[in-house]
C-alpha cells in the first residue's frame, strides 16, 4: 500500500519535473529542475533495486551534469543581456503536431511494454548463474568487466572520444569552461577552505572505497571515477586547478593508460586465456581490480577536462 503510494508519488514527481523542464518559460528554471530530476532519478533507481545506478546517478547525474549545465547556461546567457533571448517557440499548430507525435510515441511504447512478456531465459539469469566463473561477486561488475567487457572498453573510449572532440570544438582557453572567478577583490569565501578540506579527502576516500567495493557490492570504476571528477570540478571552480592549453604527459597517460591497459590485458587473453578479453584462470579478480583502477582515472580526468574546457589542468594551491 505504502509501497504503491511511494512509487506513484515518485513517478508523479518525476514526470511533473520533466514536464516543468520542458515547459518552464525561464531556461534557468529548467536547468535547476533538471538537476533536481537527477536527484529524483537516484531515488527511482533505489526503488528499482539498482543501487549501482543510484550511485552513478548521484555522482554523474546530479553532480557533474548539473555543473556542466550551469556553466553552459551562463556561457550562453551573457552578462548585461536583458530578458529572455530564446528564439520564439514553435507556432501553436506545430506544437500540436509535436504533441500528437509524442503522444503517439508514448502510446506505442506503452502498448509495446504492456504486451511484453518476460522471457523465460535471459542473459541476466545466465550471468547470475555463472557469476562464479567471472571471478567477482557483484553481478554488475561481472557483466561490465567480464561477460561484456568490450562494452566497457568501448564506453571508456566514448568518453575519450568526447574529450578529443571537445578539444576540436572548444572555445579558446580564456573563454572555455566555467569562466573566470567572479570577484577577485572580494576574495574567497572564508568557509571555502573548510569545504575543500572536508570534501576532497572524503571524496578521494569514497572513490577508493567505491573502487574497491566494486568487486563484491555496488560500486566500481564508473562511480569512483565520477566522484573524482566531481572533486576535480570543485577544485577547478575554486581555482585550485587552473586550466592550461597543453595536456601534460602525465595527463595523457592518465587519459589513455587505463584503456591501453584494458586492451593489453584483453589482448593477452588471446594467448594466456581462452580468448581476447578473457582472464587467465585465477587471475580474474586481480586483473579486474587493476583494470578498474586504470579506468577510474580514464573516467575521472576526461570528465574534469570536459568541464574545465581545457586541454589540461595544473595545480595551483592556495
Amino acid at each position: 500500500m505504502i509501497d504503491r503510494a511511494f512509487d506513484l508519488l515518485l513517478i508523479g514527481g518525476m514526470l511533473g519535473l520533466a514536464v516543468q523542464v520542458v515547459a518552464s518559460r525561464a531556461l534557468f528554471r529548467s536547468v535547476v529542475l533538471f538537476i533536481a530530476l537527477g536527484l529524483l532519478m537516484a531515488v527511482v533507481w533505489a526503488r528499482l533495486a539498482a543501487p549501482d545506478l543510484a550511485l552513478a546517478e548521484a555522482a554523474i547525474g546530479a553532480g557533474l551534469t548539473g555543473a556542466l549545465l550551469l556553466a553552459a547556461y551562463r556561457a550562453l546567457q551573457p552578462a548585461g543581456e536583458a530578458g529572455d533571448a530564446e528564439p520564439a517557440a514553435l507556432p501553436r499548430r506545430w506544437a500540436l503536431v509535436a504533441a500528437v507525435l509524442s503522444g503517439a510515441l508514448v502510446a506505442a511504447i506503452g502498448w509495446a511494454v504492456l504486451g511484453l512478456e518476460p522471457p523465460a531465459a535471459s542473459a541476466g539469469r545466465e550471468a547470475l548463474a555463472r557469476l562464479g566463473e567471472s571471478g567477482v561477486k557483484s553481478p554488475i561488475t561481472a557483466v561490465l568487466l567480464s561477460f561484456r567487457a568490450v562494452d566497457t572498453l568501448a564506453e571508456v573510449v566514448v568518453l575519450f572520444a568526447a574529450f578529443l572532440g571537445a578539444r576540436v570544438v572548444a572555445e579558446p582557453l580564456g573563454r572555455a569552461g566555467p569562466g573566470p572567478r567572479p570577484d577577485p577583490a572580494g576574495g574567497e569565501p572564508v568557509l571555502m577552505p573548510l569545504l575543500l578540506r572536508v570534501t576532497v579527502p572524503m571524496g578521494v576516500l569514497v572513490a577508493g572505497y567505491l573502487l574497491w567495493s566494486g568487486g563484491h557490492q555496488p560500486g566500481g570504476a564508473f562511480q569512483a571515477g565520477a566522484v573524482l571528477a566531481a572533486l576535480g570540478v570543485l577544485l577547478r571552480l575554486t581555482g585550485r586547478l587552473q586550466p592550461v592549453a597543453e595536456t601534460s604527459p602525465a595527463e595523457r597517460l592518465a587519459l589513455v593508460g587505463g584503456i591501453v591497459l584494458f586492451s593489453a590485458i584483453g589482448l593477452a587473453g588471446a594467448g594466456m586465456a581462452s580468448a581476447v578479453l578473457a582472464y587467465p584462470e585465477g587471475w580474474a579478480y586481480t586483473l579486474i581490480l587493476l583494470i578498474e583502477t586504470g579506468l577510474t582515472l580514464a573516467i575521472a580526468l576526461p570528465l574534469t577536462l570536459l568541464f574545465s574546457g581545457s586541454a589540461g589542468l595544473r595545480w595551483r594551491g592556495r
Partner: protein, 90 residues
C-alpha cells in the same frame, strides 16, 4: 521488524511529499538564489529518503549513495555561485 520498515517507508513517503512541495520555490523564485535553495532542500531531503530506503528495502549500498549526494551537493552550489553572474536568471 516489518512494522519498522513500513514506518521507514512511510516517513520516506512523507519526505518525498515535502520535497515535491519545495519545488514550488524553484517555480516561484523569485531570485536565482531561491531556486538554488530549493534545489538544496531537494538534496538534503533526498539524502534522508535514500537513508530510509536503504533500511526499508535492505539495500545498504543506498547509504553510499546518500553519502555521495551530500558530498557532491556542495559542488553544485559552488558551481552556481562561483561562475560569473548574469543579469537575468529568472
Amino acid at each position: 521488524m516489518y512494522a519498522v520498515e513500513t514506518l521507514d517507508l512511510a516517513i520516506a513517503l512523507f519526505l518525498l511529499l515535502n520535497l515535491l512541495a519545495g519545488l514550488g520555490r524553484v517555480h516561484h523564485g523569485p531570485g536565482a538564489a531561491d531556486r538554488m535553495l530549493a534545489a538544496m532542500l531537494f538534496g538534503t531531503t533526498t539524502v534522508a529518503v535514500l537513508l530510509l530506503l536503504a533500511e526499508a528495502t535492505a539495500l545498504p549500498a543506498l547509504r553510499d549513495v546518500a553519502l555521495l549526494v551530500v558530498l557532491l551537493a556542495a559542488v553544485l552550489v559552488v558551481a552556481f555561485t562561483r561562475t560569473p553572474r548574469r543579469e537575468e536568471e529568472r
